[in-house]
Symmetry: C2
Subunit: 204 residues, 2 copies
Protein backbone atom coordinates (compact mmCIF):
# COMPACT_ATOMS: atom_id res chain seq x y z
CA UNK A 1 0.00 0.00 0.00
CA UNK A 2 1.25 3.46 -0.87
CA UNK A 3 0.57 5.84 1.93
CA UNK A 4 -0.92 8.99 0.44
CA UNK A 5 -0.53 10.92 3.64
CA UNK A 6 0.22 10.04 7.21
CA UNK A 7 -1.23 12.15 9.92
CA UNK A 8 1.48 14.16 11.54
CA UNK A 9 2.67 12.65 14.74
CA UNK A 10 3.72 15.94 16.23
CA UNK A 11 2.45 15.94 19.77
CA UNK A 12 0.75 19.14 20.89
CA UNK A 13 1.29 21.42 23.83
CA UNK A 14 -2.09 22.70 25.01
CA UNK A 15 -2.04 25.64 27.40
CA UNK A 16 -5.30 25.78 29.32
CA UNK A 17 -5.79 29.04 31.13
CA UNK A 18 -8.47 31.37 32.44
CA UNK A 19 -9.29 33.23 35.64
CA UNK A 20 -9.00 31.61 39.04
CA UNK A 21 -12.12 29.60 39.86
CA UNK A 22 -13.28 29.13 36.29
CA UNK A 23 -12.92 25.34 36.41
CA UNK A 24 -9.60 24.50 34.77
CA UNK A 25 -8.86 21.50 37.05
CA UNK A 26 -12.37 20.07 36.73
CA UNK A 27 -12.20 20.41 32.94
CA UNK A 28 -8.85 18.59 32.72
CA UNK A 29 -10.12 15.83 35.01
CA UNK A 30 -13.23 15.39 32.85
CA UNK A 31 -11.18 15.21 29.64
CA UNK A 32 -9.13 12.42 31.20
CA UNK A 33 -12.26 10.61 32.37
CA UNK A 34 -13.49 10.75 28.77
CA UNK A 35 -10.51 8.62 27.76
CA UNK A 36 -8.44 11.28 26.01
CA UNK A 37 -4.75 10.45 26.40
CA UNK A 38 -2.37 13.22 27.34
CA UNK A 39 0.33 14.12 29.81
CA UNK A 40 -0.77 16.61 32.41
CA UNK A 41 2.00 18.79 33.76
CA UNK A 42 1.67 19.14 37.51
CA UNK A 43 2.60 22.67 38.54
CA UNK A 44 5.50 23.07 40.95
CA UNK A 45 4.85 25.39 43.87
CA UNK A 46 6.23 26.68 47.15
CA UNK A 47 2.69 27.20 48.45
CA UNK A 48 1.59 25.36 51.59
CA UNK A 49 -0.24 22.11 50.91
CA UNK A 50 -3.97 22.48 51.63
CA UNK A 51 -5.94 19.72 53.34
CA UNK A 52 -6.74 16.96 50.88
CA UNK A 53 -4.07 17.94 48.36
CA UNK A 54 -1.61 15.27 47.25
CA UNK A 55 2.04 16.02 46.41
CA UNK A 56 2.73 15.18 42.75
CA UNK A 57 -0.99 15.10 41.91
CA UNK A 58 -2.43 18.52 42.75
CA UNK A 59 0.95 20.25 42.85
CA UNK A 60 4.57 19.30 43.28
CA UNK A 61 5.37 21.00 46.56
CA UNK A 62 8.84 22.52 46.79
CA UNK A 63 10.83 24.16 49.51
CA UNK A 64 11.56 27.71 48.43
CA UNK A 65 15.28 27.02 48.29
CA UNK A 66 14.88 24.02 45.96
CA UNK A 67 12.52 26.00 43.73
CA UNK A 68 15.06 28.83 43.53
CA UNK A 69 17.80 26.39 42.55
CA UNK A 70 15.62 24.98 39.77
CA UNK A 71 15.01 28.54 38.53
CA UNK A 72 18.77 29.06 38.39
CA UNK A 73 19.18 25.85 36.35
CA UNK A 74 16.59 27.26 33.87
CA UNK A 75 14.38 24.38 34.88
CA UNK A 76 11.04 26.13 34.40
CA UNK A 77 9.30 27.03 31.16
CA UNK A 78 7.55 29.70 33.15
CA UNK A 79 7.39 30.65 36.79
CA UNK A 80 5.84 33.45 38.77
CA UNK A 81 5.21 34.65 42.29
CA UNK A 82 1.50 34.88 43.03
CA UNK A 83 0.20 36.03 46.41
CA UNK A 84 3.65 35.41 47.87
CA UNK A 85 4.08 31.86 46.54
CA UNK A 86 6.13 30.63 43.60
CA UNK A 87 4.50 28.55 40.86
CA UNK A 88 6.35 27.04 37.90
CA UNK A 89 5.99 24.74 34.88
CA UNK A 90 8.91 22.24 34.83
CA UNK A 91 10.64 22.22 31.46
CA UNK A 92 12.13 18.69 31.55
CA UNK A 93 8.75 17.10 32.22
CA UNK A 94 7.17 18.75 29.17
CA UNK A 95 10.14 17.82 26.99
CA UNK A 96 10.10 14.19 28.12
CA UNK A 97 6.37 13.79 27.45
CA UNK A 98 6.73 15.26 23.94
CA UNK A 99 9.64 12.88 23.23
CA UNK A 100 7.36 9.99 24.16
CA UNK A 101 4.85 11.34 21.61
CA UNK A 102 2.31 12.43 24.20
CA UNK A 103 0.23 15.56 23.91
CA UNK A 104 0.86 17.79 26.90
CA UNK A 105 -1.69 19.87 28.78
CA UNK A 106 -0.34 22.72 30.88
CA UNK A 107 -2.61 24.57 33.28
CA UNK A 108 -1.49 28.10 34.07
CA UNK A 109 -2.93 31.42 35.07
CA UNK A 110 -3.35 34.02 32.34
CA UNK A 111 -0.09 35.82 33.08
CA UNK A 112 1.68 32.46 32.83
CA UNK A 113 -0.02 31.78 29.51
CA UNK A 114 1.25 35.13 28.24
CA UNK A 115 4.80 34.09 29.15
CA UNK A 116 4.35 30.66 27.55
CA UNK A 117 3.07 32.34 24.38
CA UNK A 118 6.55 33.82 24.01
CA UNK A 119 8.37 30.62 24.96
CA UNK A 120 6.17 28.16 22.99
CA UNK A 121 4.35 30.22 20.36
CA UNK A 122 3.18 27.08 18.55
CA UNK A 123 1.35 25.69 21.54
CA UNK A 124 -2.46 25.68 21.42
CA UNK A 125 -3.77 28.38 23.74
CA UNK A 126 -7.23 27.85 25.22
CA UNK A 127 -8.95 30.43 27.44
CA UNK A 128 -11.61 29.02 29.74
CA UNK A 129 -14.36 31.53 30.44
CA UNK A 130 -17.10 31.72 33.04
CA UNK A 131 -20.60 32.34 31.65
CA UNK A 132 -20.55 35.69 33.48
CA UNK A 133 -18.66 37.66 36.12
CA UNK A 134 -21.48 37.01 38.63
CA UNK A 135 -21.02 33.32 38.03
CA UNK A 136 -17.28 33.55 38.66
CA UNK A 137 -17.91 35.49 41.86
CA UNK A 138 -20.27 32.76 43.03
CA UNK A 139 -17.67 30.09 42.34
CA UNK A 140 -14.93 31.90 44.25
CA UNK A 141 -17.22 32.51 47.24
CA UNK A 142 -18.31 28.86 47.13
CA UNK A 143 -14.72 27.72 47.61
CA UNK A 144 -14.66 29.20 51.12
CA UNK A 145 -10.87 29.02 51.10
CA UNK A 146 -10.43 32.72 50.53
CA UNK A 147 -11.46 35.76 52.47
CA UNK A 148 -13.91 38.33 51.06
CA UNK A 149 -10.97 40.62 50.32
CA UNK A 150 -9.15 37.87 48.43
CA UNK A 151 -12.29 37.13 46.39
CA UNK A 152 -12.61 40.75 45.41
CA UNK A 153 -8.90 40.86 44.46
CA UNK A 154 -9.40 37.78 42.27
CA UNK A 155 -12.39 39.34 40.55
CA UNK A 156 -10.44 42.47 39.69
CA UNK A 157 -7.64 40.23 38.47
CA UNK A 158 -10.07 38.26 36.29
CA UNK A 159 -11.27 41.48 34.69
CA UNK A 160 -7.66 42.31 33.80
CA UNK A 161 -7.10 38.79 32.53
CA UNK A 162 -9.96 39.00 30.03
CA UNK A 163 -7.94 41.67 28.27
CA UNK A 164 -5.34 39.01 27.40
CA UNK A 165 -7.87 37.04 25.33
CA UNK A 166 -6.33 38.05 21.98
CA UNK A 167 -3.19 36.06 22.87
CA UNK A 168 -5.27 32.88 22.78
CA UNK A 169 -6.30 30.67 19.88
CA UNK A 170 -9.57 29.45 21.34
CA UNK A 171 -12.02 30.34 24.06
CA UNK A 172 -14.47 27.96 25.68
CA UNK A 173 -17.27 28.95 28.05
CA UNK A 174 -17.45 26.60 31.03
CA UNK A 175 -21.17 26.45 31.78
CA UNK A 176 -21.82 25.40 35.38
CA UNK A 177 -24.26 22.69 34.57
CA UNK A 178 -22.37 21.13 31.71
CA UNK A 179 -18.76 20.19 32.36
CA UNK A 180 -19.05 17.46 29.71
CA UNK A 181 -19.68 20.12 27.10
CA UNK A 182 -16.59 22.05 28.20
CA UNK A 183 -14.42 18.93 28.21
CA UNK A 184 -15.76 17.89 24.79
CA UNK A 185 -14.98 21.31 23.38
CA UNK A 186 -11.38 21.18 24.61
CA UNK A 187 -10.95 17.55 23.49
CA UNK A 188 -12.42 18.55 20.11
CA UNK A 189 -9.89 21.36 19.79
CA UNK A 190 -7.07 18.84 20.37
CA UNK A 191 -8.49 16.43 17.77
CA UNK A 192 -9.00 19.19 15.21
CA UNK A 193 -5.49 20.52 15.71
CA UNK A 194 -4.22 17.07 14.72
CA UNK A 195 -5.97 17.45 11.37
CA UNK A 196 -4.04 20.58 10.49
CA UNK A 197 -2.25 20.38 7.18
CA UNK A 198 0.64 22.37 8.65
CA UNK A 199 1.31 20.84 12.04
CA UNK A 200 2.45 22.97 14.94
CA UNK A 201 6.08 22.25 15.67
CA UNK A 202 7.12 22.58 19.29
CA UNK A 203 10.70 23.45 20.16
CA UNK A 204 11.57 23.80 23.81
CA UNK B 1 -26.08 39.08 34.31
CA UNK B 2 -23.06 40.63 32.67
CA UNK B 3 -22.00 38.63 29.67
CA UNK B 4 -18.24 38.20 29.81
CA UNK B 5 -18.04 36.95 26.30
CA UNK B 6 -20.51 35.78 23.71
CA UNK B 7 -19.44 33.22 21.24
CA UNK B 8 -19.12 34.80 17.87
CA UNK B 9 -22.09 34.17 15.70
CA UNK B 10 -20.17 34.43 12.49
CA UNK B 11 -21.33 31.57 10.31
CA UNK B 12 -18.59 29.61 8.60
CA UNK B 13 -18.01 28.65 5.01
CA UNK B 14 -16.53 25.15 4.92
CA UNK B 15 -15.01 24.06 1.62
CA UNK B 16 -14.84 20.25 1.49
CA UNK B 17 -12.65 18.99 -1.29
CA UNK B 18 -10.50 16.05 -2.32
CA UNK B 19 -10.02 13.77 -5.30
CA UNK B 20 -12.93 12.30 -7.19
CA UNK B 21 -14.21 9.15 -5.48
CA UNK B 22 -12.80 9.93 -2.06
CA UNK B 23 -16.23 10.12 -0.42
CA UNK B 24 -17.14 13.79 -0.17
CA UNK B 25 -20.89 13.24 -0.70
CA UNK B 26 -21.08 10.34 1.74
CA UNK B 27 -19.23 12.39 4.37
CA UNK B 28 -21.58 15.35 4.00
CA UNK B 29 -24.62 13.06 4.20
CA UNK B 30 -23.28 11.45 7.37
CA UNK B 31 -22.60 14.82 9.01
CA UNK B 32 -26.22 15.77 8.33
CA UNK B 33 -27.47 12.44 9.70
CA UNK B 34 -25.48 13.16 12.87
CA UNK B 35 -27.68 16.21 13.43
CA UNK B 36 -25.19 18.94 12.55
CA UNK B 37 -27.05 21.92 11.10
CA UNK B 38 -25.65 23.56 8.00
CA UNK B 39 -26.62 24.72 4.55
CA UNK B 40 -25.28 22.49 1.81
CA UNK B 41 -24.69 24.26 -1.46
CA UNK B 42 -25.89 22.12 -4.33
CA UNK B 43 -23.50 22.47 -7.27
CA UNK B 44 -24.95 23.78 -10.53
CA UNK B 45 -24.01 21.80 -13.62
CA UNK B 46 -24.67 21.38 -17.31
CA UNK B 47 -23.85 17.68 -17.04
CA UNK B 48 -26.51 15.12 -18.02
CA UNK B 49 -28.54 13.85 -15.12
CA UNK B 50 -27.57 10.24 -14.26
CA UNK B 51 -30.17 7.62 -13.32
CA UNK B 52 -31.29 8.12 -9.74
CA UNK B 53 -30.06 11.72 -9.48
CA UNK B 54 -32.54 14.35 -8.38
CA UNK B 55 -32.49 17.95 -9.65
CA UNK B 56 -31.83 20.34 -6.77
CA UNK B 57 -30.57 17.55 -4.53
CA UNK B 58 -27.59 15.94 -6.23
CA UNK B 59 -27.01 18.84 -8.60
CA UNK B 60 -28.96 21.75 -9.98
CA UNK B 61 -29.11 20.84 -13.65
CA UNK B 62 -28.78 23.77 -16.06
CA UNK B 63 -29.05 24.18 -19.79
CA UNK B 64 -25.69 25.40 -21.05
CA UNK B 65 -27.20 28.71 -22.16
CA UNK B 66 -28.70 29.43 -18.75
CA UNK B 67 -25.43 28.54 -17.05
CA UNK B 68 -23.54 30.89 -19.38
CA UNK B 69 -25.97 33.73 -18.61
CA UNK B 70 -25.43 33.19 -14.88
CA UNK B 71 -21.66 33.34 -15.45
CA UNK B 72 -22.13 36.70 -17.20
CA UNK B 73 -24.14 38.01 -14.25
CA UNK B 74 -21.20 37.01 -11.98
CA UNK B 75 -23.56 34.53 -10.38
CA UNK B 76 -20.97 31.90 -9.46
CA UNK B 77 -18.33 32.04 -6.71
CA UNK B 78 -16.42 29.56 -8.81
CA UNK B 79 -17.10 27.60 -11.96
CA UNK B 80 -15.10 25.31 -14.20
CA UNK B 81 -15.41 23.05 -17.18
CA UNK B 82 -14.56 19.45 -16.27
CA UNK B 83 -14.67 16.66 -18.84
CA UNK B 84 -16.72 18.91 -21.11
CA UNK B 85 -19.34 19.90 -18.52
CA UNK B 86 -19.71 23.12 -16.56
CA UNK B 87 -19.91 23.06 -12.75
CA UNK B 88 -20.44 26.10 -10.55
CA UNK B 89 -21.04 27.26 -6.98
CA UNK B 90 -23.96 29.76 -6.93
CA UNK B 91 -22.99 32.94 -5.10
CA UNK B 92 -26.48 34.13 -4.06
CA UNK B 93 -27.26 30.84 -2.32
CA UNK B 94 -24.12 31.04 -0.17
CA UNK B 95 -24.76 34.68 0.67
CA UNK B 96 -28.40 34.02 1.63
CA UNK B 97 -27.48 31.11 3.93
CA UNK B 98 -24.82 33.19 5.69
CA UNK B 99 -27.33 36.03 6.16
CA UNK B 100 -29.64 33.55 7.87
CA UNK B 101 -26.74 32.67 10.20
CA UNK B 102 -26.23 29.19 8.78
CA UNK B 103 -22.85 27.58 8.32
CA UNK B 104 -22.36 26.68 4.69
CA UNK B 105 -20.67 23.56 3.32
CA UNK B 106 -19.45 23.73 -0.27
CA UNK B 107 -18.26 20.59 -2.02
CA UNK B 108 -15.84 21.24 -4.88
CA UNK B 109 -12.99 19.54 -6.66
CA UNK B 110 -9.49 20.59 -5.71
CA UNK B 111 -9.08 23.07 -8.56
CA UNK B 112 -12.36 24.68 -7.46
CA UNK B 113 -11.09 24.85 -3.88
CA UNK B 114 -7.98 26.64 -5.13
CA UNK B 115 -10.19 29.25 -6.81
CA UNK B 116 -12.37 29.59 -3.69
CA UNK B 117 -9.23 30.09 -1.60
CA UNK B 118 -8.70 33.32 -3.55
CA UNK B 119 -12.37 34.37 -3.42
CA UNK B 120 -13.09 33.41 0.21
CA UNK B 121 -9.70 33.18 1.95
CA UNK B 122 -11.36 33.02 5.39
CA UNK B 123 -13.35 29.91 4.58
CA UNK B 124 -12.31 26.67 6.31
CA UNK B 125 -10.62 24.42 3.76
CA UNK B 126 -10.80 20.67 4.38
CA UNK B 127 -9.06 18.13 2.16
CA UNK B 128 -10.56 14.64 2.26
CA UNK B 129 -7.95 11.95 1.63
CA UNK B 130 -8.18 8.27 0.74
CA UNK B 131 -6.14 5.94 2.98
CA UNK B 132 -4.00 5.12 -0.09
CA UNK B 133 -3.92 5.48 -3.87
CA UNK B 134 -4.80 1.79 -4.25
CA UNK B 135 -7.85 2.41 -2.15
CA UNK B 136 -8.90 5.34 -4.32
CA UNK B 137 -8.41 3.23 -7.46
CA UNK B 138 -10.65 0.56 -5.98
CA UNK B 139 -13.37 3.08 -5.20
CA UNK B 140 -13.32 4.54 -8.70
CA UNK B 141 -13.48 1.07 -10.30
CA UNK B 142 -16.28 0.11 -7.94
CA UNK B 143 -18.40 2.95 -9.24
CA UNK B 144 -18.64 1.32 -12.65
CA UNK B 145 -19.77 4.59 -14.14
CA UNK B 146 -16.44 5.31 -15.78
CA UNK B 147 -14.34 3.50 -18.34
CA UNK B 148 -10.87 2.14 -17.48
CA UNK B 149 -9.34 5.08 -19.34
CA UNK B 150 -11.42 7.56 -17.35
CA UNK B 151 -10.39 5.87 -14.09
CA UNK B 152 -6.73 6.16 -15.00
CA UNK B 153 -7.20 9.84 -15.91
CA UNK B 154 -8.83 10.45 -12.53
CA UNK B 155 -5.96 8.73 -10.71
CA UNK B 156 -3.40 10.91 -12.46
CA UNK B 157 -5.55 13.91 -11.62
CA UNK B 158 -5.71 12.85 -7.96
CA UNK B 159 -1.93 12.68 -7.83
CA UNK B 160 -1.77 16.25 -9.12
CA UNK B 161 -4.44 17.31 -6.64
CA UNK B 162 -2.47 16.09 -3.64
CA UNK B 163 0.08 18.76 -4.49
CA UNK B 164 -2.54 21.41 -3.60
CA UNK B 165 -2.71 20.21 -0.01
CA UNK B 166 -0.81 23.24 1.39
CA UNK B 167 -3.74 25.47 0.36
CA UNK B 168 -5.90 23.68 2.89
CA UNK B 169 -6.33 24.20 6.62
CA UNK B 170 -7.13 20.61 7.51
CA UNK B 171 -6.89 17.13 6.04
CA UNK B 172 -9.00 14.17 7.06
CA UNK B 173 -8.42 10.57 5.96
CA UNK B 174 -11.67 8.88 4.96
CA UNK B 175 -11.17 5.30 6.07
CA UNK B 176 -13.43 2.92 4.15
CA UNK B 177 -14.80 1.17 7.13
CA UNK B 178 -15.43 4.20 9.26
CA UNK B 179 -17.46 6.99 7.71
CA UNK B 180 -18.62 8.01 11.20
CA UNK B 181 -15.05 8.81 12.12
CA UNK B 182 -14.64 10.96 9.01
CA UNK B 183 -17.92 12.79 9.63
CA UNK B 184 -17.02 13.32 13.28
CA UNK B 185 -13.66 14.76 12.32
CA UNK B 186 -15.25 17.28 9.93
CA UNK B 187 -18.01 18.14 12.41
CA UNK B 188 -15.32 18.56 15.08
CA UNK B 189 -13.43 20.97 12.84
CA UNK B 190 -16.59 23.08 12.48
CA UNK B 191 -17.19 23.11 16.24
CA UNK B 192 -13.58 23.98 17.01
CA UNK B 193 -13.55 26.80 14.48
CA UNK B 194 -16.46 28.34 16.41
CA UNK B 195 -14.25 28.51 19.49
CA UNK B 196 -11.64 30.65 17.77
CA UNK B 197 -10.89 33.86 19.62
CA UNK B 198 -10.56 35.67 16.29
CA UNK B 199 -13.51 34.54 14.22
CA UNK B 200 -13.19 34.09 10.47
CA UNK B 201 -15.07 36.87 8.73
CA UNK B 202 -16.59 35.98 5.39
CA UNK B 203 -17.15 38.67 2.80
CA UNK B 204 -18.63 37.59 -0.50
Amino acid sequence: MTAVHRHSEHPLVVVLSGPSGVGKDATIARIREAGVKFHYVVTSTTREKRPGEVDGVDYCFFKREDFSQKIERDGFLEYAEVYGNLYGVPKDEVRDALKRGLDVIIKVDVQGAATLKEKIPDAVFVFLLPPSMEDLLGRLKGRNADSEAAVSTRIRKAEEEFKCMPLFDYCVVNYNDDLDRTAQAVAGIITTEKHRVKPRVINI
